[in-house]
Amino acid sequence: MAGDRAKRIDPDALSWYEATARQRVLALTDPGSFREFLPPTERRMSPHLPLFDLPRAFDDGIVVGRARLDGNPILIAAQEGRFMGGAFGEVHGGKLVGLLRVALELKPKAVLILFDTGGVRLQEANAGETAIAETMRAIVDARAAGIPVVGLIGGRAGCYGGGGLIAGTCSRLAVSEGGRISVSGPEVIETNKGAEEFDSRDRALVWRTMGGKHRRLIGGADAFCADSVTAFRGAALDLLSRAPAFDLATLEAEQARLEDRIARFGDCRDGTDVWARLGVNDPEAVPGMDTDAFDETVARVREADHDAR
């Protein structure tokens, strides 16, 4: 049973980055409370991957279900970055869309999406792309009905491509040091525009451009977590309690926030240039900061916290 397995997982000791999707879900939610929809026993697998001679997964790389978080009923989805990079295929996308749509009826306290994705699964590209559009529409419908949709990002695959657009549609986002949020990944930019534009092997550059600390400092994420399930649980509980409404006022505020960002930082070449202009005293020190030191830095940056999402 799910509850028995959950008891064996210590949320403090479990690295979010290293954990599987199921480990994250079980350790994040109240012990024994998780019930999975379309679990692996039902073997809802991709009908398309055999055409490419590729192995399938019984869950198509995503876990969806309901649970309790601090006693509150929630719906939860977790992508498995170890299966095809957590990419959106037809079944994968359908599970997430179904979960978000039923939220309108069940009215949970929140929907949590544990992103771990490279974006669209190319072998099912058209289905994946359409599912991303359906997901964004369903998130907006849930938000407009007053249901917060909170994204948690700290897995191996990051949150790329269409996943980055879905993340931008959520009410709130929490990210860890290892989490990256981006549309075009470093390899994609390098392949299309050359290594002079983006050297994808320069890991420090990747983190300064799309990593968790950069996203948190510019207001692209609303919480920065240590790499533990306990930290993400705390962030999720905090964020679901202060989700912005989905209305014209919020989007007007987001328009102003993003226009202001481009006006202020549009000529910056590197994350460190942006952080300096944000007022960070020692931008070069940011990548090496521990969570406490980074939280103190974030607290002094005005752009980091807002309701414009």
Binding site: A127, T130, G164, S184, E252, L258, G266
Partner: protein, 238 residues
């Protein structure tokens, strides 16, 4: 059809739609009021500035409160691929544009996409796929990725992929495949006035997201709807 031809067909009495740096904004007379036009022309990549220009026009239309329909015309590249755009939060800007269109829809504005050229990836999601009903003109070429790139990623021979593309719409680029998937609702007839065709399409469009049903009926996305329905059914059981 070119954008100029589309606008001439839509607005025989003239319009105030302009194109600047590949970004389309403006309006024209439509039925008894006006229709707001936004979009991307000339296979232009959509970056942070472009996304915010279009979202500004959409939000201005919502604030005006007259429930004018919004037409999103699309001949774009993919999202602008650059280190700078990602540094500045391209994911937020593209999502913001999509949210603006979805807000407009919820606020009583009919949102209609019209793809007449190319579009791909993040730009396609943030524009055409964020409308309630997406129409296409013959010759449009929406895609996620071109087949040579798919061949590189999947390590399958291009010839094999080209052969598979004929029978498997789920992965191959092209308008027919996006229609089969349900992403594109209808293909318009360029020989007839576009205004009436778009009006009819809006009139028969349901408020629910029907794309997975269309994908199932057309065979291009055979299982997505059943999976979404099964998840919802199991969730209702408690």
């Amino acid at each position: 059809m070119t954008l100029a031809e589309i606008l001439a067909s839509l607005f025989p009495d003239g319009h105030a739609v302009t194109v600047r740096d590949g970004l389309v904004t403006g309006s024209g007379p439509f039925e008894r009021g006006r229709i707001q036009v936004v979009g991307v022309d000339g296979d232009t990549p959509l970056g942070v500035e472009g996304a915010l220009t279009l979202s500004r026009a959409v939000l201005d239309t919502v604030r005006a409160g007259e429930q004018a329909p919004i037409l999103v015309v699309v001949d774009s590249d993919s999202q602008r691929m650059s280190r700078r755009d990602e540094l500045l939060g391209l994911n937020e800007c593209l999502a913001h544009l999509a949210k603006a269109l979805l807000l407009a829809d919820r606020s009583g504005h009919s949102t209609v996409g019209l793809i007449y050229g190319h579009s791909a990836a993040g730009a396609f999601i943030a524009t055409a796929l964020a409308t309630r009903v997406l129409a296409a003109l013959p010759g449009a070429s929406p895609s996620v990725m071109d087949l040579p790139s798919v061949a590189r990623v999947t390590k399958l021979p291009l010839a094999k992929l080209q052969d598979m593309a004929k029978s498997t719409p789920v992965f191959a680029p092209g308008l027919d495949n996006m229609v089969a998937t349900g992403a594109v609702h209808a293909v318009l007839d360029p020989g007839k006035p576009l205004g009436g065709q778009i009006r009819d399409l809006v009139a028969e469009t349901q408020t629910d997201d029907v794309r997975d049903r269309l994908g199932e009926e057309r065979g291009g996305r055979p299982v997505a709807r059943g999976v979404a329905t099964a998840v919802a059914d199991q969730a209702r059981l408690g």
